[in-house]
């Protein structure tokens, strides 16, 4: 009973309407389709994504819907298997940065003083660099590999969560139900876990949904620069990069790029819908419009 009752009710009451929009529906459909492809790629893909057994650079046709690349591999199969590389990594990446950034931000907001100063100045420093350049330097420093690319994105991704969580926690910290919990003798950690965090998760999850797209773009961008996935791996960014070499054969780069675009788009549709369902400012604007 410690959750803010108004916020919960507002969310569930507004969700169904928001989810009936065409953008939301197509977001769900595309995202689910990609998840299915990621799981079922070994059975769905017509060819082995790594086998170099087909004619080289064959244009799209009835035999190979997306054509073949310069090593005689089926582009469609590679794009499908690419979902197994990019999507789980991106989701894990966002979950990790949410966890790290959220926890640090919550500590900063809840404990204040030097904890707050230390964590937020650290976040400021990360914000002082443009993301791709910082991620690129970190990835290059750690050595080119997909794991290191994920770490590099993690380094630039957590501060956003820290900032948002801190702001939200600051807003909740002095509320009566939190104070009464403390008066009942809750420890700081218990208060944070039981009273504060459940009341800030909604907006942070929205941020995370919107962030999935950004994280995928950044991760595939690093792979495109040669700082992520290693060549035989069917990673989408690396595939676009290999398409640059065979400029004439447009299909080599086009389809993996479209894969990135559709996944990012789907999660942005979802995040956008979630935000409309949650954001009190937008909700207020709608209400005032109706008056």
């Amino acid at each position: 009973m410690r959750r803010d009752p108004l916020a919960r009710k507002g969310l569930t009451a507004r969700l169904p309407q928001a989810w009936r929009q065409p953008l939301a529906v197509s977001g769900v459909v595309i995202a689910v389709a990609w998840l299915v492809i990621a799981v079922a790629a070994p059975w769905l893909a017509p060819h082995d994504p790594l086998a170099q057994e087909l004619p080289r650079l064959a244009p799209p046709g009835p035999d190979h819907w997306f054509g073949t690349d310069q090593l005689g591999r089926d582009v469609l199969s590679r794009v499908m298997h690419g979902a197994r590389v990019s999507i789980p990594l991106t989701l894990a990446l966002v979950a990790l940065s949410l966890l790290i950034g959220g926890l640090l931000g919550a500590c900063a907001g809840y404990f204040g003083r030097w904890v707050d100063e230390t964590i937020m100045r650290l976040a400021d420093l990360v914000f002082a660099f443009p993301t791709v350049i910082l991620a690129m330097v970190v990835a290059a420093a750690l050595g080119a590999s997909l794991t290191n690319a994920v770490l590099a994105v993690l380094v630039v991704a957590w501060p956003a969560y820290a900032r948002v969580t801190r702001g939200l926690v600051l807003g909740v910290r002095e509320r009566e139900f939190v104070l009464s919990g403390r008066l009942l003798g809750f420890s700081a950690w218990r208060s944070l876990r039981v009273d504060v965090l459940p009341n800030v998760t909604g907006p942070i999850l929205v941020l995370a949904t919107l962030d999935i797209g950004t994280a995928l773009l950044l991760l595939s961008g690093l792979s495109f620069l040669g700082l992520g996935a290693k060549p035989p791996s069917p990673e989408w960014g690396a595939m676009v990069s290999s398409g640059v070499e065979v400029f004439d054969s447009w299909w080599v780069a086009t389809f993996p790029g479209l894969a990135i675009l559709t996944v990012v788009l789907a999660f942005n549709f979802l995040g956008d819908t979630l935000r409309d369902a949650l954001d009190p400012r937008t909700a207020r604007a709608i209400k005032e419009r109706a008056l």
Binding site: L23, P130, V137, V138, A140, A141, G143, G243, R281, R289
Partner: protein
């Protein structure tokens, strides 16, 4: 007589608190600048620490196989680049050089990093500047239209456009645009900043478009603009999407305010309400977002410049990061970090000047 009286009063009156000496705006500016300087120092620490945590061996990245096998050459190379000294001493040397404008020599180009950057930075500023201009004009216009036509077809279409804009992988879009507009349609000139047959204009600002105008070379100006259009548009698409969404919600929020309703109620023409009442306050937060967007533009250049062979800091950063050219990487990190800080400072100050409430925080 009156002079003495004034003196007497001054002597009797208690000294004013010193804090009153500076107007709030000046205090706000000083505080902001101090924070920026502190962050700039932090940037030097971060770039230095990052580039020195490198597990990858810069020796291996720069010397050939045969040179690597000779320990004497390796030791000499390390001594030449100061890699044999303790870390804090290296940082001290780095800071000392920095104060004198010396960023060290690039291990790849064998030229001072500051010289390399002096050539690369204007190229990127030209590209990013053109992109932010395009995105401000289009993004704000789209956002205002979407807000005014809320829930109609144009609003939904613009929402779709802006969502696609923030979802497209920039590097892929650059490739597609290059393929379609240059390779297939021959509509735009190819890579680089200007037609090599014409040559670059005499350098004044380093921005080819401006320099060509200053020199009165119209053909060079045309070529420079032609080369700029596609990469700038590709780079701008993300920011256009961002600004459209932000402007839309900012305008919607203002439209619901009482003073807008009051302005309408007293019969002001819609045009006056829109420009004098709505946009004036709705566009203030847009400045902040545009400043942040400039940072994402600087990031995007890394991915766009390589496709269009644009000789800017993005390409330079990429080349030096992949070859572990440490002085160059530090130089890029520092310059980009500082450019970013300065932009944020300008945005902060503009914001404080426009909206007095900000200064009191």
């Amino acid at each position: 007589m009156s002079g003495d009286a004034v003196k007497g009063v001054a002597a009797v009156a208690p000294p004013r608190p010193r804090r009153q000496a500076l107007p709030p705006l000046a205090r706000f500016l000083i505080r902001r600048v101090l924070v920026a300087v502190l962050l700039a120092w932090g940037v030097t620490v971060v770039t230095f620490v990052l580039t020195n945590l490198v597990p990858g061996d810069p020796v291996a990245a720069n010397l050939g196989q045969r040179a690597m096998s000779d320990p004497e050459i390796v030791a000499q190379w390390r001594a030449e680049h100061g890699l044999d000294k303790p870390l804090w001493e290296q940082y001290g040397m780095y800071l000392q050089g920095l104060v004198q404008g010396d960023l060290g020599d690039s291990q790849q180009s064998h030229r001072p990093v500051s010289q390399d950057l002096a050539e690369a930075v204007p190229a990127t500023l030209e590209l990013a500047g053109a992109a932010i201009l395009v995105s401000l004009v289009l993004g704000v216009a789209f956002g205002v239209i979407a807000a005014l036509r809320r829930d109609r077809l144009s609003d939904h279409l613009l929402r779709l456009v802006s969502l696609v804009g923030i979802s497209v992988p920039t590097f892929w879009l650059a490739l597609v645009a290059f393929y379609v507009f240059f390779y297939r349609l021959r509509l735009t000139p190819g890579s680089g900043r200007v037609d090599p047959a014409l040559g670059a204009p005499p350098p004044v600002t380093g921005l080819h478009t401006v320099d060509a105008l200053l020199a009165g070379q119209w053909d060079v100006f045309g070529s420079a603009v032609g080369h700029l259009i596609t990469p700038a548009l590709v780079l701008a698409l993300y920011t256009i999407g961002l600004l459209t969404r932000f402007t839309r919600s900012a305008v919607l929020e203002v439209l619901g305010q009482d003073y807008v309703r009051a302005a309408r109620a007293k019969g002001l023409p819609e045009r006056v309400v829109l420009f004098r009442y709505v946009l004036r306050s709705a566009l203030v937060p847009v400045i902040t977002v545009a400043g942040l967007a400039f940072g994402s533009l600087l990031s995007g250049t890394v991915l766009v410049e390589s496709i269009f062979a644009w000789p800017g800091i993005g390409q330079y950063a990429f080349k030096s990061a992949t070859t572990l050219d440490l002085p160059a990487v530090m130089g890029v990190g520092l310059v980009v970090g500082v450019v970013y800080l300065v932009i944020n400072l300008i945005v902060d100050v503009l914001y404080g000047v426009i909206d007095p409430r900000v200064r009191l925080r």
